[in-house]
């Protein structure tokens, strides 16, 4: 088969935003991972919708990221409001309230 006919060629031309997600402290431990790369599904464009999407994984994800849980989110290392819109290449971090000092 000629290379140009491979279906991958068509896939590579589509532009799906990809974000890097980091988890810290209690969340990292509970969720069992410290980072992942995620192609944002259609309709997932804000911090809050990403959190909701991750909750959809069920189990621990649903429990740890529940709306009542005091989860903080930073985007590109700045604290982010729930409505902040995400862009391709963003670094999104989920973590509990901080306890340094």
């Amino acid at each position: 088969m000629d290379q140009s006919e491979l279906p991958q060629a068509a896939v590579s031309t589509t532009s799906v935003p990809v974000v890097t997600i980091l988890y810290f402290a209690r969340l990292r431990e509970a969720l069992g991972r410290e980072s992942e790369r995620l192609e944002l599904p259609a309709g997932i464009s804000s911090v809050d919708s990403l959190r909701e999407h991750l909750r959809g994984r069920g189990g621990t994800w649903e429990a740890e990221l529940a709306p009542a849980k005091p989860v903080r989110v930073a985007v590109n290392q700045d604290m982010a409001a729930p409505g902040l819109l995400l862009a391709d290449g963003d670094e999104v971090a989920f973590f509990p309230p901080v306890t340094g000092g």
């Binding site: 810290f24 930073a74 290392q77 700045d78 901080v98 306890t99 340094g100």
Partner: protein, 149 residues
């Protein structure tokens, strides 16, 4: 401005001397040291470990220092925060503010600590006789930070 995250201990004598000699306009140096206690929430603490978010930690501390400099007449700020495993009586954090006069140096030092406690991405985990646990954030720290807004 200097912000350092490190596992090793710090020597306040060395740090203060270095800062003091940088500028003959310094007339006041205010400092705060946070120390690991052997007790928290009624339980014995035998060891503590501190995790942070490399990159964001430095960025957030630098932003806090910039904010302090915009609010008070101060000359310089040093923040040293340790991460890793620490034992009771060990030093955790050092904040030093230099200025011409004590009033602004005291206030800025307190402000930097209050903001650090609520905004810099560090998390403590402590070892107690019942096992290890993540330390919960305290409302009293939020209240302390809110008084500056």
């Amino acid at each position: 401005m200097t912000v350092r995250i490190q596992t090793q201990d710090f020597d306040i004598g060395v740090e203060l001397e270095r800062l003091r000699r940088t500028n003959p306009k310094i007339g006041a140096i205010a400092s705060f040291i946070g120390v690991v206690r052997d007790m928290n929430d009624g339980d014995a603490v035998t060891e503590m470990s501190l995790e942070h978010y490399p990159g964001m930690t430095e960025k957030s501390l630098e932003a806090i220092v910039v904010e302090a400099k915009s609010r008070w007449e101060i000359i310089d700020v040093l923040v040293v925060h340790r991460v890793g495993v620490l034992q009771p009586t060990e030093q955790i954090v050092l904040v030093v503010v230099t200025g011409a006069h004590r009033g602004d140096a005291f206030s800025a030092c307190e402000f930097v600590m209050d903001y650090l406690k609520t905004r810099a991405p560090f998390w403590k985990r402590e070892q107690t006789p019942e096992g290890t646990r993540w330390v919960d954030a305290r409302e009293v720290d939020d209240v302390a930070a809110q008084r500056w807004s």
